[in-house]
């Protein structure tokens, strides 16, 4: 029974969005020129979705807090990091609740120190070192052990060199079509674009079929 109700609600919701999208904003004059009757209700239905989504908003952070509380309580490995997390969670919640921008009191200063002094600084620092980590991780992970990875490596080298002055310097004496810049452009615009579009078209078909399956409740019983 519960399953049937969920399926029915899913079907009605999907039908609303589908018909609203398929009907034109205004019908042609020979059909009476009436406006789309569902469009005025779109805002209400979308707000309903936001309300339902908000109900789940706290569940994730609650799970996170419970997990760390348990780690501290039972002295699991890494419990000190969990304690630091809980401390900063409490500090952040209190500072956000008590801060007053106009008065610039203690809570506001704590808030500024937490968000602009620590979080912002940590975020930009981790983003800055991330690029170096990505290069080193790619170096460790990538192995030229078959034809596919060899082709991938060769194209990557051509595209990388084609983007920098070194590539121009290496091949400036060659005819224009054989220069690394032209080869890089050709790889990007022809084989790469063609394959990307082909995969995208396949994925679009897959997304459409999956959407329809879920909407009609075919094979979604878990």
């Amino acid at each position: 029974m519960k399953n049937a109700v969920v399926r029915l609600l899913t079907f009605i919701g999907g039908l609303f969005f589908l018909v609203e999208f398929l009907l034109p904003e205004r019908a042609p004059a020979w059909l009476g020129g009436f406006a789309n009757p569902l469009t005025p209700h779109l805002g209400v239905v979308t707000t309903f979705l936001v309300v339902v989504g908000t109900m789940a908003f706290l569940l994730g952070p609650i799970n996170l807090t419970r997990g760390h509380l348990k780690a501290v309580w039972r002295r699991h490995k890494g419990w000190a990091q969990s304690a630091v997390f809980l401390l900063f969670l409490a500090l952040g919640l209190l500072a956000t609740a008590l801060r007053d921008e106009a008065a610039r009191g203690f809570a506001t200063r704590v808030y500024d120190a937490l968000f602009f002094g620590l979080l912002f600084a940590f975020g930009t620092t981790s983003m800055a070192i991330l690029s170096f980590y990505l290069v080193s991780a790619a170096y460790r992970a990538f192995r030229v052990n078959n034809l596919d990875s060899g082709i991938m490596m060769a194209s990557a080298v051509i595209v990388l060199l084609g983007q920098v002055p070194l590539g121009d310097w290496i091949t400036y004496a060659l005819p224009d079509t054989l220069q690394l810049r032209s080869l890089a452009q050709w790889i990007t615009m022809v084989p790469n674009a063609a394959v990307q579009r082909a995969v995208l078209i396949g994925a679009c078909g897959g997304a459409f079929a999956t959407g329809l399956r879920h909407w009609l409740g075919i094979g979604t019983r878990r």
């Binding site: 979705l49 989504g53 789940a56 908003f57 992970a141």
Partner: protein, 266 residues
Amino acid sequence: MQHADALVAILMLAFAAAVLGCLWRAKRGRVPYVRQIPGIASLEEAVGRATELGRPVVFALGHSGLQAIETHAALSILAHVARLAARLRTPFVTLVSQQDVYPVAEETVRQAYTAEGVPDQFKAEEQVRFLSDHTVVYAMGAARIIEESRAGCALFFGPFDFTSLLMAEPGARLGVMQIAGDPSLFQIPFFVCTCDYTVIGEEYYAAGAYLSADPAARATLASQDLIKAVFAVLVVVGTLLYQFHAAWPPWLHEFLKALKIVGPRP
């Protein structure tokens, strides 16, 4: 608000007819052959290997919310893997980065354990873990869990961003069997480098139906090929029309203009 123009409406109805046609044929017993998808078929091998090693299966969901169809495709795979893990009594951990996906993921894993007859072995707060909605923090947390728990296999399904390599590289370094699926193309090269199997493009969306026990769902996979065939015909026809647009009869131009496929004649 956006509304479909005539061409989009026609294509959508045609695609829907293709899916429903395949479904109708399946109901009459004509289920098409579905080729094996290596990345999806190897899920059992991955869970089996984790079981033999006595190590946990780590399943990381992508960064899309509940309203995205990519999430539902990933949840279908999660349901299958959770059932395998429950059947083999293998420790199973799901990592979530979106608050709205968290309760659905929890319910999906709970149902999998219930379906396998071991609901008492499901520990929600230990097995379904929300790490963070910040992608870098999520990736670092996932990498740490894979490394510290010495995962038997790691599975990544859903849309990921530039942090995909951060998540998958520790497992690759430790020799963990890894399978990844991402509907977008940008992170696929990183997953190809670090994972044993990669599920790309349409295979990602086909996974749910491929794993489903319902023959009707598997039959709808044929509609994906029909949709691709329609697109291929449109590409060929569009290319020919573009090449010979100077020779078009006026009625053809007016017809295509009415469908908003072409603009005014150059």
